[in-house]
Symmetry: C2
């Protein structure tokens, strides 16, 4: 790749911000915020991406990756998520720390190492957070899932993905028995307090804010509901 480590970080950030946005355009401010950089820095870097035909952008408008930019971003995401999977599955690290570790390692992984890693892990489709791992050809299949916050009292579901990468959120989930693949049931909802009470299979009831619950994706199961 011609891309420096910084360029890679921008591409990944733009890609992820773009996915969040309804309009499929990444606002400059969010790009800057997600990289911990001032808006001015983001603007000038985006100019370079545009010059390199990796993104499109017009003054005071949003940023959108080109096909090439998207392809590159998916490649980085693939490296990131395979590294995370490796850190958890092979090295046994806790999922609450692997995001930051992978953030550093993803830039140092050559195609050769990446493929060896992929084979060693058995060509996984999802990383430890349930995020889909882009294939080598750039294909990406999101798993069908809904925010846990949309479940009703009594609904049963299986936890399939955690969008939040913050260490303390992940530690809380792990401590509660809410891990990817686990079953759970909503035992109560208190809209006034903005809190849901959830019982993981074989665990004790825990409380979560509905905003936190909206970043946990589940697949509903038939069950009393």
């Amino acid at each position: 790749m011609l891309a420096s480590e910084t360029v890679e970080n921008y591409l990944k950030a733009i890609y992820l911000v773009q996915r969040e946005a309804a309009t499929d355009e990444a606002p400059m401010g969010k790009i800057a915020a997600s990289l911990g950089v001032t808006p001015g820095s983001a603007t000038s870097m985006v100019k370079k991406l545009v010059a390199a035909r990796l993104a499109r952008h017009e003054r005071f408008g949003g940023v959108r990756l080109t096909a090439r930019g998207t392809r590159a971003a998916l490649d980085i995401l693939r490296r990131h998520r395979l590294v995370e999977t490796f850190l958890v599955d092979t090295l046994g690290l806790d999922w609450s720390v692997v995001h930051d570790e992978a953030e550093r390692l993803e830039h140092a992984i050559s195609p050769l190492v990446l493929d060896a890693l992929d084979r060693h892990l058995g060509r996984p489709a999802f990383d430890p957070h349930g995020d889909p791992i882009p294939r080598a050809d750039g294909a990406l299949q999101e798993s069908e899932a809904m925010p846990m916050s949309e479940l009703g009292v009594g609904d049963a579901a299986r936890l399939v993905r955690v969008l939040d990468q913050r260490g303390d959120s992940l530690r809380f989930l792990r401590a509660s028995g809410l891990k990817v693949g686990a079953g759970l049931r909503i035992v109560a909802i208190e809209p006034g307090a903005g809190v849901m009470r959830i019982r993981p299979d074989g665990g004790a009831v825990v409380s979560m804010s509905t905003t936190a619950a909206s970043r946990v994706l589940v697949r509903p199961m038939r069950g009393r509901g």
Copy 2:
């Protein structure tokens, strides 16, 4: 570490050049050459290392790492060699490529990942080239060995270490059956041509220049000699 990736590379290079040198001082030119950088760049970087109390140096003299600098260099070497071991042992990559791969990865390995890697590999003492892996506390035990070039006709030995990291050298050795741990016997020496003929256990006789052979370290075995 306060050390940037560049600083890490300089420390490692100085350490290795220093080991080579009889005087235990690294000449500026060799440092620059080993990093693929102009002498001027090396000079100015060494100034920074001196300011950071990682190296000592006086104008037109050689460079010598301080205790702190040596400690840091050993830490980098540890990361490098553990990564190499991982790439070969766990991912099954060929030893002829792992040096360059490790060169990139070594800077992205946190203490946490490093220790997990070390445990996963069974706390190895040597990397795939037979180079000793510094311990976490900085201890480094070189294995006792002599250059293969010093063996005589008929001598048997075990290959314990390959100093040359160049891909083509390593591919040649692998193709010849000369890998770390393998037994071998010197079948002929032709001083005029500067060539030795070697038979690896269970393999065909191969020829090597004595200069190449001097970069292959062996432990002699009792055998007809």
